[in-house]
């Protein structure tokens, strides 16, 4: 057992001291800090709140109209009134009346000139539409894809249209007050009353997303490092000295555990960076608007994701170590670990694509298959409905697989590290395994 800790300590110290570790950690810390501070940084460049109100011109005298009562000029005036009535900090548009001459071509020239000299950002043209009985609007501006302005104009026009219909204020209010619809997710099977509200669902979804990514990234990054460590030890022949000093089981699991601690340290650093950044006063305000309440996280989900994260990591890690041990040169490693990477990728995609459909048969079945369940079970627990016994069975299957594959990996490892030359076939490996004692 002391050998195990010696190997763990040595792996941990050497990895954390290595340039690769320091550089990648630093880069991610910088990226994380930037992303969290981005809303604030953007708001710095925006300047004052008033600057982002667009001025939209319209011509006060326009010839084409449907009927004399609702002229384009009147619609423009209504719009102007509507935008002016909005509170100043959420106002996006302001209408600017421009004196027209009655001649369409001359008016257009005037409007274009106004854009050129900067007094307006764009202008509105209204063309009568016989089928709807109202006007079609064209927003002219120099910008491409100016969706926010057209969207804003659509809402404005929709509202002022009711003026044309001659509705009373009371009728208008009834029409435009949005209807509240809220969703509550329940578990029909267990009959428990506790449903998840929309915000809880949101937070769970976020956590599931984060866990899927975290597991996938950890397996990819750490697994590859474990495999390449083993291959390097083998190709540098230090393995021959090592296996005469320490049992292969201790040396393999010591390495895996050491790498696990390195990964844990890295995650802890990232979480620390996130917490520090979120608590910077300028950021608490910006993020508070996103309406995330961390107390909504369900503890069941947290525990289940943690359990499956750990078991998932160790299941893959033992196999990565075994693969590393049968490869003699680092160049061949990428190809050799490919099947494992695809397996992990399959689990990851199963989880990702079924986030919105967590109760399908495919999800139910795969949540019991060892290599996929760490991803899929987290999805089921987070956004689907699952019974406790199902989680228990799936976890048990995971533990048994870890035990069996750990034993097999140790055997492969033991045999593989002494086989040099080309990558052995399964048949050769089995033959060789019989020759070594365990």
């Amino acid at each position: 057992m002391s050998d195990f800790w010696t190997v763990t300590g040595f792996t941990f110290r050497n990895k954390t001291k290595g340039k690769a570790f320091i550089v990648t950690t630093l880069i991610l810390v910088i990226i994380l800090s930037l992303v969290i501070n981005l809303p604030y940084i953007i708001s710095l460049f925006k300047g004052d709140g008033g600057a982002d109100v667009k001025n939209v011109g319209y011509v006060s005298v326009q010839s084409e109209s449907i009927e004399s009562k609702v002229t384009p000029t009147l619609v423009g005036a209504w719009l102007k009134e509507y935008y002016a009535s909005q509170p100043e900090d959420s106002r996006k548009l302001a209408m600017v009346a421009i004196e027209g001459s009655g001649d369409a071509a001359a008016d257009e020239a005037t409007l274009k000139k106004a854009i050129a000299d900067g007094s307006i950002d764009g202008y509105l043209q209204l063309k009568p539409n016989a089928t709807t009985g109202f006007y079609d609007a064209i927003y002219n501006s120099e910008k491409m894809m100016d969706n926010s302005a057209t969207e804003e104009l659509r809402t404005g026009l929709q509202i002022v249209k009711s003026n044309a219909a001659g509705l009373t204020d009371e009728q208008k209010k009834l029409l435009y007050t949005p209807v509240e619809v809220s969703a509550l997710q329940i578990n029909a099977g267990s009959g428990e009353g506790s449903g998840r509200t929309a915000t809880q669902q949101g937070v769970n979804m976020g956590l599931v997303y984060a866990m899927l990514f975290l597991l996938f990234m950890t397996i990819m990054a750490t697994g590859t490092v474990i495999a390449s460590e083993v291959t390097t030890e083998k190709s540098s022949r230090i393995m021959e000295v090592l296996i005469t000093s320490v049992s292969p089981l201790n040396s393999m699991f010591g390495k895996i555990f050491g790498m696990f601690l390195v990964g844990l340290l890295q995650i802890a650093i990232y979480i620390g960076v996130v917490i520090i950044n979120v608590n910077i006063p300028t950021n608490t305000e910006a993020l508070g608007n996103l309406n995330i309440n961390l107390s909504d996280v369900s503890y069941d989900l947290l525990i289940v994701s943690l359990l499956f994260y750990l078991t998932g990591f160790f299941l893959y890690a033992t196999l990565y170590a075994a693969v590393g041990s049968i490869v003699s040169r680092t160049e061949d490693l990428g190809q050799a670990v490919m099947p494992l990477t695809f397996l992990s990728l399959a689990g990851f995609y199963l989880g990702m694509f079924n986030l919105t459909n967590p109760d399908s048969m495919l999800v139910k079945v795969t949540s019991f298959i060892p290599f996929l369940s760490p991803y899929v079970m987290v999805v089921r627990t987070g956004v689907g409905s699952v019974e406790y016994w199902e989680i228990g069975v799936s976890l048990l299957i995971m533990l048994v697989s870890i035990y069996l594959l750990g034993w097999l990996s140790a055997k492969i490892y033991r045999t593989g590290v002494l086989m040099y030359g080309k990558r052995p076939t399964i048949k050769e490996l089995r033959k060789a395994m019989k020759a070594y004692k365990f």
Binding site: D3, V7, R13, R237, S245, S247
Partner: protein, 301 residues
């Protein structure tokens, strides 16, 4: 009870026999030479002694007991192909390896410093292995093998790649370990090292024991077929003498004469004395090199 007894071990890989019934016994304070051409089964034998591979037949006893995990800590192994972590400091990896052998970190550190001092390279303590020359890496590897003062040492090609000064240094260390009671199994292709260090040897050929026994006894078994002759002036007509197979003029003066049997020596001495003053006349023992080439080479045909 001998510390290491290998008793008729057999190892097969598939249908190929790698080691076929090899036996040897090594005493405390003895260096046992395991010789053989490339692929003769030396490394397989050593791996079986190390407990890495299980013999198909026969047994290996350590102080009369079969292999157990605890033996790992008393064994020091210098593999044929050297390996250390290239990017890790000498001090760190040697202390690590010593700790895996059951030493405490502080004892390992002290032992390492002693050995570095002994090998005149104390400044390597803080260096990374990749910064050292190949010969110096060898020294470090050697220290890694003996840092925990093992009772059983297995040295595969111990002195390859070293300059003569360092060979002497390591050789004297090996002798010292022997005199302190270590049991050493030693393999090399340098026959002069074997002659200098080993009491008993085995020459392996194609998985079989070809020649085995004490060095002295083996040499006695092979006929003396060489005469070394040094005289004041030139001696002519040596080739025509009965029993002489060939005459070679040596660069440093004198002749080396190959003879059919020891009795022919007499005639050569008479002939030489009649021509000149003789400063040296010796019927030479066969060198191990000759014995090796003879045993391994002959059966090649």
């Amino acid at each position: 009870m001998k510390p290491l007894v290998v008793d008729r071990v057999v190892k097969q890989y598939g249908d190929k026999t790698a080691v076929n019934g090899i036996s040897l016994e090594v005493d405390r304070g003895e260096i046992y030479g395991l010789l053989g051409a490339n692929g003769a089964g030396k490394t397989t034998t050593m791996r079986m002694v190390l407990g890495l591979i299980f013999p198909d037949e026969g047994q290996i006893l350590y102080d009369g007991k079969p292999y157990a995990k605890e033996q790992l800590q008393r064994i020091g192994y210098l593999p044929e192909e050297r390996g250390l972590y290239p990017k890790v400091k000498v001090s760190e990896q040697l202390v690590y390896l010593a700790r895996l052998k059951g030493m405490t970190a502080s004892a390992a550190d002290k032992s390492l410093k002693n050995w570095l001092e002994r090998f005149n390279v104390p400044e390597y303590y803080d260096k990374r292995v990749e910064e050292l020359s190949k010969g110096n890496q060898q020294k470090i590897q050697f220290i890694a093998t003996i840092i925990h003062s093992p009772q059983l040492l297995i040295l595969d090609e111990a002195f390859s790649g070293l300059d003569p000064v360092n060979v002497e240094l390591l050789k004297s260390t090996v002798k010292e370990l022997r005199d302190n009671g270590s049991t050493i199994l030693f393999s090399t292709h340098r026959m002069e090292h074997v002659e200098e260090l080993c009491r008993n040897i085995t020459i392996l050929h194609r998985s079989n024991e070809q020649v085995k026994g004490s060095l002295k006894e083996i040499k006695g078994r092979f006929p003396r077929e060489r005469v070394r002759l040094t005289a004041e002036s030139e001696i002519t007509g040596l080739e025509e003498l009965p029993g002489v197979l060939g005459v070679k003029l040596l660069e440093q003066g004198g002749y080396e004469i190959r003879i059919a049997d020891e009795a022919s020596g007499r005639g050569i001495l008479h002939h030489a004395m009649s021509q000149s003053e003789i400063s040296r006349f010796e019927i030479m023992e066969p060198t191990l090199n000759e014995i090796f080439i003879k045993t391994v080479g002959e059966s090649h045909e």
